[in-house]
């Protein structure tokens, strides 16, 4: 796939290496797509912010007794259609264990990892069943109190923020309309200048330097 140069702020060209692959990697692990593109600072920033938020949410929405990550689970049963997971899956791989656990719960196989990201036991499931030792949604809310909601909000916002990061890996920084117009004007004036004599080597070096204010 060809690299797509994108004119970003202060005349600096951002090379978006393999945008589609980078977007997939950015979805898989926050910041991985940017790391692949060589945008290391942004990769670190995205990873720390998004993964930090997600890990905080997983910690808040669980306990050593109930199991960790109880706020991230997938369920599509009557009375518990888990739409929150649509936001949480935006973070990619870190939220995928929930799908494995939901599949195991659905097929009456014991859930793994001490119930990590496992869906709560349905109210109609007897205690003698395979996953009968899992807590119900009622018990999760009762014991975790407001931390269940907080963990839910943290993990959902982390997933939604990663969608912004995926877009950034795919298309580069969002250019405001004013800056776009400025770029258009610059391009049109550059076209007009193309009839003028070619710039010297010194002028080219000046143009390539990013205009960063201290």
């Amino acid at each position: 796939m060809p690299e797509i140069p994108k004119q970003a702020e202060s005349q600096q060209v951002v090379r978006l290496k393999d945008p589609e692959i980078s977007a997939f990697l950015a979805w898989l692990i926050p910041g991985l797509g940017h790391l692949y593109q060589g945008r290391h600072a942004k990769a670190a920033l995205y990873f720390l912010c998004i993964m930090g938020l997600f890990v905080c949410g997983v910690y808040l929405g669980g306990s050593s007794e109930l199991g960790w990550g109880r706020v991230v689970y997938f369920s599509w049963q009557e009375g518990d259609k888990r739409l929150h997971y649509l936001c949480q899956i935006g973070i990619g791989l870190p939220a995928l264990p929930a799908l494995i656990q939901a599949n195991r719960m659905h097929n009456n196989r014991p859930v793994l990892w001490n119930g990590f990201m496992a869906p709560p036991r349905p109210m109609n499931m007897p205690r003698e069943a395979v996953n009968g030792d899992q807590p119900t949604a009622h018990r999760l809310h009762l014991e975790l109190k407001r931390y269940f909601e907080l963990g839910q909000v943290y993990t959902m916002i982390a997933g939604l923020l990663n969608i912004l990061a995926i877009y950034d890996a795919l298309s580069g920084p969002v250019t405001p309309a004013a800056r776009k117009e400025e770029e258009k004007r610059t391009t049109s004036s550059a076209d007009a200048d193309s009839k003028a004599p070619p710039p010297t080597e010194g002028d080219q070096q000046k143009a390539q330097q990013p205009d960063v204010k201290p």
Binding site: K42, L45, L164, A165, D168, P173, V174, V212
Partner: protein
């Protein structure tokens, strides 16, 4: 609820849970607008201030509304036929 949200003990305050959210949201939003770290940080500070200001305005509106609702005495309903005296005196 009031004890948790407006606790006098500043460590025991639920508002602290908004801080990581505001930091992460403002940094990620700013990072989608710029490529270099310095402009990202500058933009993130502006976004964070905007979010905090917006939340403060919403909080103020909600506090004023809740105070008005709390001060309004509950009027007994006059249209209840069970509590009306019989029209012709004694039955």
């Amino acid at each position: 609820m009031r004890a948790v949200i407006f606790s006098l003990n500043w460590l025991d305050n639920d508002w602290w849970y908004a801080v990581p959210l505001v930091i992460a949201v403002s940094l990620v939003y700013a990072a989608t607008r710029h490529e270099q770290i310095v402009p990202i940080l500058r933009h993130a500070v502006r976004v964070a201030l905007w979010i905090v200001g917006f939340m403060a305005v919403v909080l103020l509106v909600l506090v004023i509304l809740s105070m008005q609702i709390a001060e309004k005495p509950v009027q007994p309903s006059s249209g209840n036929a069970l509590h009306q005296p019989p029209a012709g005196g004694q039955m």
